[in-house]
Point group: C2
Chain length 338, copies 2
DNA sequence: ATGAAAGCGCTAACAG
DNA sequence: CTGTTAGCGCTTTCAT
């Protein structure tokens, strides 16, 4: 297949005998265009197989219609779900997503922010409130919407949409103590780099202390959160601290792994050991036993973030002002494992 | 925080008393720059907080350094893993990923292709060989690398990297028949829109026939593949066809769900029923029983695709020619469930 | 090693 | 409703 140079506005203008700007107007569906003009242009565009060059358009109009999105990970299914939510909203518009993955590394995030901002995106969505000083600086200088997602415990640079991880920790502490557990352990992963995990764990621990049931032990694994890691860690932890009567896991994949361990090892749940997780991931409702967890609205956060962004773009709508913080609800799911 | 207009090359040039092009050269690290010039420019750039505008750069140089990536889904963890692989490679370079999600809809894919190509990306990665006629047309006209991933059964527009789904179907048919199963069922999902699923299923079915053990039944669910769906479908299928002695599932999440059902229902595996899946998803190694499946190299395909793309970009390296097809190996994982 | 001029392909602003 | 003119912020090409 011959690959010819792409047709430009000028080509279409010449072929249809009108000015470039008229072609531009037709392509952008600007109001007040005669149907004759439109017809001529559309035909010429079709025969030339014309596709507008968005790069040139973006430069001239100073608006890229790109939304930069930075998430920390792809292996925790939470973030693909958020991206799905964002895309579901953007796909109805001309906005596109430019992706960055920070791997829970603020330094790496800073590089990505710098790189993505050089594209002059129409907005940027970043994960969490914790960023390097330089990231913070770049983001606050950025003239377009900056949306921090996933968290609610912090002050947004511009606007934020998320859940309170501190509240999650408290809810779970109250629940476990209320159920009578007294030797409560906590298990985390990824070297606990996600700051939101730390918020949950710390408020969990603090609340336990307040309830006079201090955290009995805590195990933070270096590797990425996964079902297998949960299985291994549960086995480990029970060997070292056999009197543990409840474990709260940083993420649902861990608790599922732990559940698998207990199934295999013949550990009675919740009689011998209580189990609880976090996120309410999809596979949780397929387990033989309903597992206690706290559901986070991932898709919804993605959708809400994208919608907030669009609202900001359309001056007509009344968009949330700078500094506003949307706190989305957490859903406590009482399972049979605690 | 005051949001000042972004500094431009011109501003930096004026402040440092050199020409714009010199600033441009310093920013791009072009060879043959005196250290005095470099120092002056770098200092001016720093005080002005200058960040190059990549949109302008892309227009002038006719190269965006954007890689368009279109995947069908985010809820099947296979695709986030591919994206992770792509990002791992690109993150070391100046290339960025622009994302599109087609939801297994060729029509939607066509729209996304058109939209993304209007950005003049430096390359495009699409999933599979099946596209609308217009998509095919746009992709073959596209002057930059077009990489079709995930599949090996078809002819690439440009180049492809993937696994043979037909081979997967055959491997599993041979295995199950070899193990003595004679009432073999197949379960799929997503209305079987993924063409690769159809390839697996059809070659599975064909091979079974050749082995004189025709497929005993087949159940295709409309909803997205998930653990829960696998659990429900397994239960359903066994009710309708109680003499089934083996089920081959389109995806591992389904087989895990089925396994959960059997655990709960007290069905003996593999004595009463054999189970097998596809993909080798991470949670598979955490199950109490090792589940038979065929592992696909997802991360590796992403990495290979991104590397092939980069190789094509750097004229120095000898890049794979148009028409070349990379077939990646499938790994049969013999579990205890069959 | 550095600069001047021209232009990438489009749209804003202002006519008419 | 349509056209003219001037850029958007950068890089290419060609000088020097």
């Amino acid at each position: 297949m011959r690959k010819l140079a792409r047709a430009t506005l000028k080509d279409v203008a010449e072929l249809s005998g009108v000015s470039e700007i008229s072609v531009s107007r037709v392509m952008r569906n600007t109001p007040n265009i005669s149907s004759t003009l439109r017809k001529k242009v559309e035909q010429a565009a079709a025969t030339l197989n014309y596709t507008p060059n968005r790069v040139a358009g973006a430069l001239a109009s100073k608006s890229t219609q790109l939304l930069a999105v930075i998430v920390p990970s792809m292996s925790n299914s939470v973030f693909p779900e958020v991206l799905d939510g964002i895309d579901a909203v953007l796909s109805k518009t001309a906005y596109r997503t430019v992706l960055g993955i920070s791997h829970y590394d603020e330094q790496r995030e800073e590089e990505i922010i710098q790189d993505l901002l050089s594209w002059n995106p129409s907005g940027i969505i970043v994960t969490g409130f914790e960023h390097t000083a330089r990231s913070l600086d770049m983001l606050s200088r950025f003239p377009n919407p900056v949306i921090e997602i996933m968290d609610a415990d912090g002050s947004p640079i511009d606007v934020s949409i998320g859940v309170s991880h501190q509240q999650a920790g408290i809810l779970m502490a109250d629940h476990l103590v209320g159920q009578g557990y007294r030797k409560i352990a906590y298990v985390g992963a990824e070297g606990e780099r996600p700051s939101r995990s730390i918020k949950r764990r710390e408020s969990f621990r603090k609340r336990l202390s307040e309830l006079a049931v201090p955290l009995s032990c805590m195990q933070i694994e270096a590797s990425d959160s996964s079902v297998l890691l949960g299985k291994q860690t549960c086995s480990d932890l029970l060997r070292k601290y056999p009197d543990t009567d409840a474990i709260y896991f940083d993420n649902d994949d861990l608790v599922v792994g732990a559940y698998m361990h207990c199934l295999q090892a013949g550990i009675d749940i919740p009689g011998q050991l209580a189990l609880a997780g976090f996120n309410g991931l999809p596979f949780m409702d397929a387990m033989p036993m309903k597992i206690t967890t706290i559901r986070t609205p991932r898709l919804e956060m993605g959708v809400a973030a994208a919608e907030l962004f669009l609202a900001r773009m359309e001056t007509e709508k009344q968009a949330p002002a700078e500094g506003s913080k949307v706190v989305m609800p957490l859903q406590f799911i009482l399972g049979e494992t605690s």
